[in-house]
């Protein structure tokens, strides 16, 4: 089992006292002939912050996209809060999920994308209220209250009436984070949220994510190449390579005493090897 108590961890209580909110079991994913994920077993606990690191092409994004239902696993199961995501239980048998089932389970998951993906034809406020109104069934008033609260949290409330095209990349990403938060997911996925940003705006977005990580009990899965950020925010680091989780543990351990050679090699590039 993974040890998640760590001096650096932001979460004080022992996370693993609870049942996992997300369980990947023997998850495999192939695109055509290339197997990208080769059997992932992974638990994420309520309120836990896990950083996923690993070389390019190792399957990190794919792993997140399976949970967001943007990609379908080739085999294996994912459970979210006790329910199968890609399967339905019919008379004790697992059958492939239909859109209705996906819709129900997906509500617990939110995602922030590398390229923000704001809706360009809507104001910032509308970007944040459209889904709560249409998908959650909130009243317009409720949705706007929630949206304004979240926009305030990410420091974008003054821009509520503007359109995405008039914002910088960092500002757009902050709005995208607010937009995802308004849905109040139990699990939030961040797929390299700062790697499409100008260097000047990376800091503001990382700061927003840190703030969110400190508050609330939302579980977070952070795919990132920002090692010091991962170290600071995460309760646990998962090192991905060649489609499997090669090594995981609390940041202090993973960054200072990497066990596998692969991870040692990988960390050298970031000057975070234990020997440095």
């Amino acid at each position: 089992m993974v040890e998640t108590q760590d001096a650096n961890a932001l979460t004080a209580y022992n996370i693993q006292d609870k049942d996992p909110i997300v369980k990947y079991r023997e998850i495999k994913k192939a695109f055509g002939d290339t197997e990208v994920l080769k059997g992932i077993d992974f638990d994420l606990y309520p309120g836990e912050r896990v950083a996923i690191i690993g070389p390019s092409g190792s399957g990190k994004t794919t792993m997140a996209r399976l949970l967001m239902t943007l990609e379908k696993p080739t085999s294996g199961t994912i459970e979210v809060d006790g329910r199968y995501l890609w399967h339905k239980e019919v008379k004790g048998q697992l059958v492939p999920a239909d859109e209705k089932h996906l819709h129900e389970v997906r509500g617990d998951i939110g995602m922030v994308f590398q390229h923000f993906n704001l809706f360009p034809h809507m104001t910032i406020l509308k970007n944040c209220t459209e889904a709560p109104v249409k998908a959650l069934g909130l009243s317009k008033k409720e949705a706007e209250e929630r949206a304004k609260e979240m926009l305030d949290k990410v420091g974008m409330l003054e821009k509520a009436k503007d359109y995405p095209a008039s914002l910088s990349g960092g500002q757009q990403q902050r709005v995208a984070i607010a937009r995802a938060l308004v849905m109040r997911p139990k699990v939030m996925l961040f797929d390299e949220p700062t790697s499409a940003l100008d260097p000047e705006t990376v800091g503001e977005v990382l700061q927003v994510i840190k703030d969110i990580a400190k508050q609330g009990d939302m579980a977070m899965m952070l795919i990132t190449h920002e090692m010091s950020f991962a170290h600071e925010v995460a309760d646990r680091i998962c090192f991905f390579d060649e489609g499997i989780i090669q090594e995981q543990g609390p940041p202090s351990q993973v960054f200072t005493q990497p066990k596998t050679e692969r991870l040692q090699e990988f960390l050298k590039r970031f000057h975070m090897n234990g020997s440095s």
């Binding site: 239902t69 809706f119 889904a131 095209a165 937009r179 995802a180």
Partner: protein
């Protein structure tokens, strides 16, 4: 015989033409409204994951697009009654015929618009848990249609200019009326010229308006 007879123009031709202008305009609006809806349905049908929907839709589009609208009008007006025992009023057959024909053009326009929406928009919509219908209504179609509105406008003008085809199935629209004025008075110059002028007066401002719309709809304008 003088070259241009003003009296004939204002006393006979113009009043008669003015009486049927609404037929031309009505047929245009009716057929275009039909095509806007029909085109969207065809475009969505063609995209369907279900082959028993997408293939026949594709076949239908290709068939209609590659046969002359006049043949289709004849078919609906003359052959339908034989096949189904219902004779449609000429104007209804005309709106249906042009509407179906332009549906297939507009389905291509919708398709181009839909394909221009970046993958990330679909993904964001899924991540925010929009249902498939809401995804289309709130996210995809508004973005798909915006850039193709000018193209649609151009099709509206082309359709408008093709309404004289309806004369062939005895719809009393502008050109047919002008022609019958001509054949009863033996003067074609004034009626035909006026019809041409009328089409010019309608089409040209419309195309200018489309140009302006194009600028207004540009989302990247800051």
């Amino acid at each position: 015989m003088s070259v241009w007879d003003w009296e004939f123009t204002f006393a006979d031709v113009l009043p008669q033409l003015l009486q049927v202008i609404h037929v031309t305009i009505g047929a245009t609006i009716g057929a275009f409204a039909f095509a806007l809806v029909g085109g969207l349905i065809l475009a969505l049908g063609r995209r369907s994951q279900k082959k028993w929907i997408s293939w026949p839709t594709y076949g239908f589009i290709e068939f209609v697009r590659t046969t002359p609208p006049l043949v289709q009008l004849y078919f609906i007006f003359f052959v339908f009654p034989d096949l189904f025992g219902v004779a449609l009023p000429a104007i209804v057959a005309g709106i249906l015929g042009l509407g179906i024909h332009y549906s297939t053009y507009l389905s291509e326009v919708y398709r181009a618009g839909i394909e221009s929406v970046p993958q990330g928009q679909w993904e964001a919509a899924t991540a925010l848990n929009f249902s498939p219908v809401q995804k289309w209504k709130s996210i995809i179609l508004p973005q798909a249609i915006r850039p193709v509105v000018p193209v649609m406008g151009n099709y509206l003008i082309v359709l408008f200019k093709e309404t004289p085809l309806l004369a062939a199935i005895s719809v009393g629209e502008l050109l047919g009326t002008a022609q019958s004025i001509g054949s009863s008075t033996f003067r074609y110059l004034e009626p035909i010229t006026l019809v041409g002028l009328f089409f010019l007066l309608m089409s040209y401002p419309a195309s200018l308006m489309i140009k302006r719309l194009e600028l207004r709809l540009d989302l990247n304008r800051k």
